[in-house]
């Protein structure tokens, strides 16, 4: 489980319950951060 103030980092190459889904389970804060991260990655590409 992600702790409050923990830096969010997803490794898309290693999908497992403890990382990618833990972000979603953390709720709105992780979700917003994840969406922002995805958007910035897309912009980089």
């Amino acid at each position: 489980m992600i702790k409050k103030n923990q830096k969010l980092s997803l490794d898309p190459l290693k999908p497992n319950l403890d990382s990618s889904l833990a972000h979603l389970a953390y709720g709105h804060l992780a979700f917003s951060a994840w969406r922002k991260l995805k958007k910035s990655k897309l912009n980089e590409e």
């Binding site: 999908p15 497992n16 990618s20 389970a25 709720g27 709105h28 979700f31």
Partner: protein, 844 residues
């Protein structure tokens, strides 16, 4: 000031202990496990029909659907021109959040089914419409205003909705590691699109929940997740063990989905638990379970709400909080108990018109709930919905999802036909509700109206239910008529009618006909229910060997079916195998506590085994659960109490010889006192006797009495003559013993029925009449002896049972010697015993 009495209710639609148990054992649901360890848990009884919008409305109102009005997945729009997914408009009873609003308490509600349109309560409502986003990702920016209350939160919440297209492989692979093997063109039904949709909707709901916990103040919060239910409908068929008809390739792809779904749900629970403080009471519950064994249905029949056929009778209930017991299983929780329990939590009165009860068993400290007649009649602001101004609102996404899940048929092109059939189906659901409440007359009335609708698409189903209701009402004549009519109906759906046919034959006394019907059905498909029915048929014919075989075979396939265990217990009781009877009755009780029949059988088995204390408890439970049906249990309990009363006599002795002790043989008249006197005399203790009363037919070997004993109440100065001797003093005279001496009292006991019978013969009265007053006074007397002996420091006492002396003399003699503290001649003592004198015995 921060509220310290909050309650968080989390709904996990369709969660089932059968999946949870193995996952907890492997440590894969740590958060639910933590709640169980720190709280209470048990089965949640569902209701019939197990359709989620009806059930969650019962959770919210504490009432059955006939009272709250939500009757299915759909509702007819008020202008009668169209259909739509069921809305909060269908609910006619006040929900818990309406009552809390009236009491100035704040509720947050997320995803409740049905909760759209949002009611304007104190707090926030994120309705079931909120996560439905449709195909177009651009649509995610728009949302019906009525999906959220208050509007001040709408912008923030809208941004937290996830679209299925946002689901990435990182989210999918933990559930479906071989997702790349899925052919998306060929496998749309099981494929990734429905998976992504369910996943995205769940994340939207969870985001809204965590947002509201972080950003609002609340007293009550209800969050409803349909994740497990939707995943189960889509993927349970692939869950291990593999069903024969599932292809290896598909099994390999989807076999991990269900376990993954439960684990993700548990992760979300972990986050919610982390966000609330320790003072918050948290409840996790499901509305029904989900079939995961061999009974899983691969092809749904074309009947109303067919997927619900996979719903199991028991869901889950877990609760943790400051005043709740820890790690304790509780029993008898029902969906309708939740609303009364929440009201009680907030110290509000429970409506007497609510069908549920406060779950008092879960509390450490119990205070009596307060009651009012009804919340429905209370004037004031309850933030209920007003009549609709804008009649038709489209909800294509929800409609499509319900069709995809198979809950509803795609509406007919002619919408009026769909409206007509839906109206009938909702009425049918109401009949099912009445049947579930065992109000068969109301059910029959509705079903008779329904079979009059000859154009109805589901008319065959109406007939089947009418047949079952008629049989419950023992209306055999009409059942036969309906069966004939049913057979004439041309219907695509084939219902199994062998149970109905067998029931009719049994009711007519044609057992061999019923047996033939059931055996024929069994040859076609081996089915546990058919085996059970056949077993019951053998049982009523007292063919216990065949009955046992049927129940055992049914249990091999479904070992956790309570009624199968109970049926086998009954057979063992009949065949005199009481230990087995108790074991199977206990198993059925373990599976479902509210099973008065099983408690009654357990009680009978325990009574036969001589475990009277527990038999009494079991009779008591049967009588409490079903007082009308088990009035016999109350009587049986009284009998046991009597037995127990006479069995609560306790010895009091240090088993040491006392200088100048007076040995007293006592007891009720005809309890074997003369025999004991004779034995002690032969054994070596001098008796204090005067032989004034001669031997007679009642005591052929003499009475061994001492005349002054009869007037001991006037003069006990002679007692010193009894020192180091043995004297017979009947029980009622013991209280006149002089406390300055030390007494060793051998108190003879005997079955009170035998004593009374023997006394009546001696007095020339009818031995078969039991004088109840005398019986009760003897019991009272024995109780008094017990009290008296405790108060007398000079008195030691042992109870020797007359029957034991006859049947096991050496043990009784040894006990007697030990008590007196002196070696006696055992052989001579035993030589006194003549079993032929045990007349008037009562055979057990």
């Amino acid at each position: 000031m921060k509220n310290k009495n909050k309650l968080l209710l989390i709904g996990w639609d369709a969660a089932d202990w059968k999946i949870i148990g193995p996952l907890i054992a492997k440590g894969l649901l740590p958060n639910l496990q933590k709640m169980i360890k720190n709280g209470v848990y048990g089965n949640m009884s569902t209701m019939n029909p197990p359709y989620s919008p009806m059930l969650w409305s019962s959770v919210a109102t504490g009432k059955t659907p006939d009272k709250h009005g939500v009757m299915g997945f759909l509702e007819v729009v008020p202008d009668n021109q169209n259909l739509r997914p069921v809305t909060a408009h269908s609910r006619k009873a006040k929900a818990i959040w309406n009552i809390l609003h009236n009491q100035k308490l704040k509720s947050n509600l997320v995803g409740w089914w049905p909760s759209f349109p949002a009611e304007p309560i104190h707090g926030a409502v994120v309705t079931d419409k909120f996560p439905k986003v449709g195909k177009d990702i651009n649509k995610i920016k728009t949302l019906d205003k009525r999906a959220i209350h208050p509007q001040s939160l709408a912008e923030d919440l809208k941004a937290l909705r996830m679209h299925p297209s946002e689901i990435t492989k990182e989210h999918i692979l933990p559930f479906i590691p071989n997702a790349k093997k899925i052919d998306q063109k060929d496998d749309k039904k099981n494929g990734l699109i429905p998976f992504a949709q369910i996943m995205a909707e769940t994340v939207s709901i969870h985001n809204a929940a965590t947002y509201l916990i972080d950003n609002t103040e609340w007293d009550f919060m209800g969050v409803y997740y349909d994740f497990i239910d939707h995943m189960s409908h889509g993927f349970m068929k692939f869950h291990p063990p593999k069903l024969a008809r599932i292809e290896e390739k598909e099994y390999d792809i989807y076999k991990d989905v269900i376990n993954g779904a439960y684990r993700f749900q548990d992760m979300m629970l972990g986050r919610l638990l982390e966000m609330v403080d320790k003072e918050t009471t948290v409840i996790v519950m499901s509305d029904h379970g989900f079939e995961s064994g061999y009974k899983r249905i691969l092809e749904m029949p074309k009947v109303n709400a067919a997927p619900a056929l996979d719903h199991r009778q028991f869901g889950i209930f877990v609760a943790m909080g400051p005043n709740l017991k820890k790690n304790e299983k509780i029993f008898g929780v029902s969906l309708i108990d939740i609303a009364p329990t929440i009201l009680n939590h907030f110290n509000l009165p429970v409506g007497k018109d609510m069908d549920g009860k406060v779950i008092l068993d879960m509390y450490n400290k119990v205070s009596s709930p307060a009651y009012i007649d009804s919340w429905e009649n209370i004037e004031g602001d309850f933030a209920e919905l007003k009549d609709e101004k804008d009649l038709v609102f489209s909800d294509e996404e929800t409609m499509k999802q319900l069709i995809d899940l198979g809950y509803i048929e795609k509406p007919d092109d002619k919408i009026e036909v769909s409206v007509y059939n839906t109206k009938l189906d909702l009425k049918h659901n109401l009949a099912k509700v009445y049947s579930g409440k065992r109000d068969f007359h109301s059910a029959q009335k509705i079903l008779l109206e329904l079979i009059g609708e000859k154009e109805a698409i589901n008319i065959a189903h109406y007939y089947i239910d009418l047949l079952n209701v008629s049989l419950s009402l023992k209306d055999l004549k009409n059942a036969e008529i309906y069966l004939k009519e049913y057979k004439k109906i041309k219907t695509e759906v084939k219902f199994n009618i062998h149970f109905i046919e067998a029931d009719i034959l049994v009711a007519k006394g044609d057992f061999s006909g019923a047996e033939k019907v059931l055996k024929t059905a069994l040859k076609k498909v081996s089915n546990t229910e058919t085996l059970y029915r056949l077993g019951e048929l053998y049982k009523i014919q007292k063919n216990f060997k065949n009955a046992k075989e049927c129940f055992e075979n049914a249990l091999k396939i479904e070992p956790d079916k309570p009624k199968f265990n109970k049926a086998l217990a009954e057979v063992y009781l009949e065949t005199g195998e009481y230990e087995e009877a108790a074991e199977y009755a206990l198993t059925s009780i373990e599976l479902v506590k509210y099973f008065p029949e099983a408690h009654y059988i357990l009680a009978k088995a325990l009574e036969k085994l001589g475990d009277l204390e527990n038999a009494k408890l079991a009779y008591d439970t049967a009588a409490r659960l079903s007082p009308k049906k088990y009035y016999r249990a109350e009587k049986a309990k009284e009998n046991i109490e009597e037995k127990l009363n006479s069995a609560t006599l306790k010895d009091k002795s240090e088993y040491k010889f006392r200088e100048n002790q007076i040995v007293v043989v006592s007891g009720l008249p005809r309890s074997g006192t003369s025999l004991m006197m004779q034995m002690l005399a032969k054994g070596g203790i001098e008796p204090l006797i005067d032989d004034k009363r001669e031997a007679d037919v009642s005591n052929p070997k003499g009475y061994f009495e001492y005349e002054p004993v009869m007037s001991i109440h006037k003069d006990n100065s002679w007692l010193d003559k009894g020192q180091n001797k043995v004297v017979k003093i009947v029980g009622p005279l013991l209280k006149y013993l002089d406390p300055k001496f030390r007494y060793k009292i051998i108190f003879m006991t005997r079955d009170l029925n035998e004593i009374i019978k023997s006394q009546r013969i001696m007095n020339g009265k009818d031995p078969d009449v039991l004088p109840v007053k005398l019986y009760n006074s003897y019991i009272k007397f024995l109780e008094n002896v017990e009290t008296w002996k405790e108060k007398e420091p000079g008195v030691e006492i042992v109870y020797i049972d007359y029957k034991s002396v006859l049947e096991n003399p050496s043990e009784s003699i040894e006990k007697t010697q030990k008590f007196i503290g002196k070696n006696l001649d055992s052989n001579k003592m035993e030589s006194c015993i003549d079993r032929s004198l045990h007349r008037n015995k009562i055979e057990s």
